[in-house]
């Protein structure tokens, strides 16, 4: 879990252009100003590229927080 969290944290900082982001499993889009609906799509694309995986659309729509993104990544790995 932790290794994925660190990689995601790095990726979020890069995509959202904010060095102060500190992700936790319970972090949601409401906690980060820059994480809006358009940036959410960029994040999904970058996550898929980084881990070389492809999520199912329905899976993405069920994510409630960062922890659930990590679970989806683990499922695919």
């Amino acid at each position: 879990m932790n290794q994925y969290l660190d990689i995601l944290n790095e990726l979020f900082r890069e995509v959202l252009d904010n060095e102060s982001i500190d992700l936790k499993p319970e972090t949601t889009a409401n906690d980060i100003d820059e994480w809006d609906s358009i940036n959410h799509i960029y994040l999904v694309v970058e996550i898929e590229k980084k881990f070389n995986i492809k999520f199912k659309s329905s899976q993405i729509l069920e994510w409630k927080n960062v922890g659930e993104i990590i679970e989806s990544i683990q499922d695919k790995k």
Binding site: D33, I38, N39, H40, L61
Partner: protein, 483 residues
């Protein structure tokens, strides 16, 4: 029943007294009372359309339970489509039937077939665009495992029809509103006072600003061919304040009334005219609709189109705004209005600069404002105003003619011969802007929780009430009731 009517001023205290003094200890009975009150409130317009609300309620109550019970994902989907099909079917028939028929006939006539106009005299049931979206979101959220369905039919029916937000929103989500029907509600004096202030502020915006603007705007848009370019531009700007004061005023009353009964709605407006770009604007204007479209339309579309990168995102944005236009009204002018907002996203999506660094210039929450934001605010306001020409005109050709009239005025140097609006408008619109600017980190303009001097608070109350009585215009219906 209109919020700004005598009927409502009799209705509200009766429900309030029964709710807190008679049924205070009985949660379920309080819900029953709210349900009856909501149906009376709605039936005041036209009791026949209550059957539509009831049907929508029954369908989604049942579908919600079925989706939750079902494991098989394709069966779940079928149940979900029943809800979506039913609600969009209601909306399609009552709101769009004539529009589609007439558009088809026009298309056939334009290629040489001669067809007669055939249309039914369908009355638009008030609030249908709002409550169908609210019930659909319930089934959608259950299908995405975001919430669990309720077995309490009374609570669910009250959630669908709750009178403060039934006819023009805010479009509430089950995740926020439904649990509040199961929690014991104790009378909270501070919340009730806060709600009363919000109601008073909403009445001020509606009666003093919006209703005074109405006659000027109506005149300019009806007789645009007689006015100078300057007057036409001013007419649109005044309309911008009319529609904002009208709709956010309505919303403040709705949220305030809900607070009187111990309910907290989601915020629907966050000082939209202080936005610094169009994306910022849509995070502050009619938030309950834009977040609905965002969650159930834009995001699924953009996820499916994500391999097309920026083009995929733009397509999703554009389609979402076209649908948003159609949601507002069955007319090509609304579709163009939505399309323009979609096009305004092009610089945001395709600029080399990262989107985030543009969108986070959050002027409202920062204490020290950098003044280079002001030109961006004015530019955003101007863009929004331009789209209002299409929103306010009765149809697309009138909107185009309005634009032509502005251009002709400029070419013929007929610009500065300006026909000014009523003095009350010239006086109170700047007051509104000033108050909102000062209060921009508060929930609404008259949020006085932080002010400790009782005398000062009462001075404000009396001042606002006096202004409403002295300068208020003849009461009009709310603009968003037609959508």
């Amino acid at each position: 029943m209109l919020f700004n009517s005598i009927d409502f001023f009799i209705f509200l205290p009766i429900v309030f007294v029964l709710y807190w003094m008679v049924l205070n200890k009985h949660l379920r009975m309080q819900n029953v009372l709210l349900l009856i009150a909501s149906y009376i409130f709605y039936g005041w317009w036209d009791w026949r359309f209550l059957s539509l609300i009831l049907m929508s309620t029954v369908v989604d109550y049942f579908v919600g339970l079925q989706i939750y019970k079902t494991e098989n994902s394709s069966t779940r989907k079928r149940w979900l489509w029943l809800s979506i099909g039913f609600n969009l079917g209601l909306l399609g028939f009552f709101k769009y039937f004539n529009f589609f028929i007439e558009s088809w006939i026009d298309a056939f006539n334009s290629i040489g077939y001669n067809m007669d106009y055939y249309s039914l005299n369908i009355i638009l049931p008030v609030g249908i665009s709002f409550y169908t979206f609210q019930t659909m979101s319930y089934s959608l959220d259950i299908s995405k495992n975001k919430i669990k369905p309720t077995k309490d039919f009374i609570a669910f029916a009250t959630f669908v029809s709750f009178f403060p937000q039934l006819v023009a929103g805010p479009i509430e989500r089950a995740s926020n509103l439904l649990p509040q029907f199961f929690k014991r509600r104790n009378f909270d004096y501070i919340m009730a006072v806060d709600g009363s202030r919000q109601i008073l502020w909403g009445l001020f915006k509606k009666i003093v600003i919006a209703d005074n603007c109405a006659s000027y705007v109506n005149d300019v848009f009806q007789n645009y061919s007689e006015y100078s370019a300057g007057t036409l531009v001013l007419g649109v700007a005044v309309f911008a304040f009319q529609i904002y004061a009208d709709f956010s005023g309505y919303t403040d009353i709705a949220i305030g009334v809900a607070k009187l009964f111990g309910f907290q709605f989601k915020r629907n407006f966050n000082y939209p005219y202080f936005s610094t770009n169009i994306s910022d604007f849509w995070k502050r204007w009619h938030i309950s609709l834009s977040s609905w479209l965002n969650d159930y339309l834009f995001t699924p579309l953009a996820i499916d189109l994500r391999n097309y990168k920026k083009y995929g995102i733009f397509s999703a944005v554009f389609i979402t705004f076209l649908i948003s236009g159609l949601w507002h009204g069955a007319g090509w002018n609304y579709i163009v209005w939505g399309g323009l907002h979609g096009l305004f996203y092009i610089p945001i999506i395709f600029s080399k600069k990262r989107f985030s660094s543009i969108s986070t210039s959050n002027i409202v929450t920062k204490n020290n404002v950098s003044y280079n934001q002001i030109p961006k605010m004015l530019l955003t306001f101007t863009m929004v105003c331009f789209t209002y020409i299409f929103f306010r005109s009765i149809n697309l050709s009138e909107a185009i003619n309005y634009n032509v009239a502005i251009s002709e005025g400029i070419i013929n140097n007929n610009i500065f011969n300006i026909n000014l609006p009523d003095i009350r408008i010239i006086l109170f619109i700047p007051c509104l802007i000033l108050v909102e600017w000062i209060q921009r980190d508060k929930e609404f303009g008259m949020d006085l929780k932080a002010i400790n001097y009782i005398a000062f608070r009462w001075f404000i109350y009396i001042l606002v009430i006096a202004i409403i009585i002295i300068f208020g215009a003849k009461s009009q219906s709310f603009i968003y009731f037609q959508f």
